[in-house]
């Protein structure tokens, strides 16, 4: 059967996308208020302009394309993809006007990096950026991490049942509570309470590192948003290395880990079901892969004699493995050192850790521990089938909230998505090679963009070739939406191009 969307389909997609753009406009009022309080006059105007434009376009679209049609899966997925592409168009405007970005493409890249919680930056002179603009960078990660579409529609939409498909489109496949609205509220409750606790702990640690109380609070709030939403932006160009504080890094470690945990797991932990930590297939997969990757990284660093003291190696090595595995992207050493001082093995571990990513249904990106775990379970099952007598019935189970039986379909679906991820990582790497960069650098940066890992070896900088900026931006959105939402939008676009509307 041919896919033949009609005018009503596009109206519905436009209507909900308008709501999202409207919500992004409202969010810009927060940094505008901060700019007003801090006396950053130019930034006040920039944010008000951006907000006015987004609110006007969003509200007009809503009114013009008003729809009460029921939403299908493809509508939801296409709306998510379109919203993710359009939100940075408006969010990037204040960034461009701040003067820290060379072009609108750079500002769009930065906004996409924010909403998709990547952490790669094209900002010039980040250390002297206005505080309100820097807050907006981190706020975009917070909004994007908690699910821009869910956020906006939870607040603005009145028809609860109809937004379920949007929720699925963001890669959050599990409904923790019976309906999406309650699930989204739980996600927000977790985020806000953790924000309160995490920011307070970081505030104390940063004051201990020598920052004045107000500055420490500002840095703490921004660092929390970057860490919990596995975003990786930092207020300073040298990232976490700026603070030179093992205490700050120690506080960040569990915050990054919490960000990479699925909200379904958070729900279990909030109910006091601690055994889930040990039994869950995803926590097991992440724990084992973290240990294996750290061991390889330690061998790599040991061979190059990068760190002579065990404590220093542990501090930087473990922080980077956690940062990469959770796809956060915060760093305790300058990125260029991965290439110049860390040898070959250690950067390869970081690439692999970013590629693996966190848990499904978390703010983290990458292939996801669930898929890796299911594929490994599938391999174990197949090996057992070979070893046992032919008439033996082999049953493989896994634990995710409850005990479940492994099916062929689950393994096949996980393997298919794994293949897509590899194509995305290597595809970006190949384009980097085309522009003359070494394989190691091209693959590192491509994986960082696609997986939302955000660590950088320094390739992503303002003077990067513009086609590569476009490629990395595309990788960010495709990776963040886990392919299917982008494919759905492409389906609608192709239908227009082929005249099937």
């Amino acid at each position: 059967m041919l896919f033949r969307p009609d005018r009503r389909d596009f109206t519905l997609i436009g209507f909900y996308t308008g709501k999202v753009v409207f919500g992004v406009g409202l969010a810009m009022l927060i940094p505008a208020l901060m700019a007003f309080v801090l006396g950053e006059r130019n930034e006040v105007y920039a944010f008000l302009l951006g907000a006015a434009l987004a609110v006007a376009v969003g509200r007009t679209t809503e009114l013009l394309l008003y729809s009460r049609e029921p939403m299908s899966t493809s509508h939801g997925l296409a709306t998510v993809a379109l919203s993710w592409l359009l939100a940075p168009v408006f969010a990037g405007l204040p960034l461009l006007l701040s003067g820290h970005y060379a072009s609108y493409l750079d500002a769009y890249f930065e906004s996409m990096s924010g909403f998709a919680t990547i952490g790669l930056t094209l900002a010039n002179d980040l250390d002297h950026m206005a505080r309100s603009v820097n807050l907006w960078r981190h706020l975009m990660q917070f909004i994007g991490g908690q699910g821009i579409v869910v956020v906006v529609l939870t607040i603005l939409a009145s028809a609860g049942g109809r937004i379920g498909y949007l929720y699925t489109g963001e890669g959050r496949e599990e409904k923790i509570l019976p309906n999406v609205i309650r699930t989204s509220r739980f996600i927000w409750r977790v985020a806000l309470i953790y924000a309160l606790i995490g920011t307070t702990l970081l505030w104390i640690a940063l004051m201990g590192a020598g920052l004045q109380a107000p500055t420490a609070l500002y840095h703490g709030a921004n660092l929390f948003m970057a860490a919990f939403d596995t975003g990786g932006f930092a207020t300073q160009s040298s990232s976490v290395a700026f603070y030179r504080s093992p205490y700050v890094e120690a506080v960040l470690l569990p915050i990054m880990t919490a960000g990479a945990f699925s909200f379904a797991l958070h729900y279990q932990l909030w109910l006091g079901r601690h055994s889930e930590l040990v039994r869950n297939i995803e926590t097991r997969t992440i724990a084992v892969s973290t240990l294996v990757m750290f061991a390889i990284l330690a061998v790599g660093l040991g061979r190059t004699a990068t760190f002579t003291e065990v404590g220093v190696m542990m501090r930087h090595g473990f922080f980077h493995v956690v940062s990469a595995h959770t796809t956060t992207g915060l760093a305790t050493v300058p990125g260029r050192l991965y290439v110049t001082d860390w040898g070959v093995l250690a950067p390869a571990v970081l690439v692999t850790a970013m590629a693996f990513g966190g848990m499904a249904g978390s703010t983290a990106g990458g292939i996801k521990a669930m898929r890796i775990g299911l594929i490994l379970k599938g391999v174990i099952r197949d090996v057992r089938k070979v070893l046992l007598p032919e008439d033996a019935i082999v049953v493989q189970t896994f634990h995710s909230s409850t005990r479940k039986m492994l099916t062929d379909n689950q393994v096949r679906a996980a393997a298919t998505v794994l293949l897509l991820w590899l194509v995305l990582y290597f595809g970006g790497g190949l384009i980097g090679l085309f522009y003359g960069y070494e394989l190691q650098l091209a693959l590192f940066e491509s994986t960082a963009a696609a997986s939302s890992g955000g660590l950088s070896v320094g390739l992503v900088r303002p003077d990067l070739e513009w086609p590569l900026k476009v490629v990395y931006t595309a990788q960010m959105v495709i990776g963040r939406l886990e392919f299917i939402a982008v494919f759905a939008l492409l389906g609608y676009v192709l239908a227009i191009v082929r005249g099937r509307v």
Partner: protein
């Protein structure tokens, strides 16, 4: 008119268990412990690797 009295320990405990902070403390403590456990094993690995090299 109801007389004011100090809340009992049982009521305080029930109130604390029903508050969102209770879940948050449990959650963040579990995450911190998990990170610490993995970190401790990594520290042993780091020590062994440094000793070898």
């Amino acid at each position: 008119m109801a007389r004011w009295s100090l809340p009992s320990v049982a009521r305080l405990r029930t109130g604390w268990r029903r508050s969102p902070l209770h879940g948050a403390v449990l959650g963040i403590a579990s995450v911190a412990l998990a990170t610490l456990a993995v970190g401790a094993v990594c520290a042993v690995i780091a020590y062994v690797v440094t000793w070898i090299y």
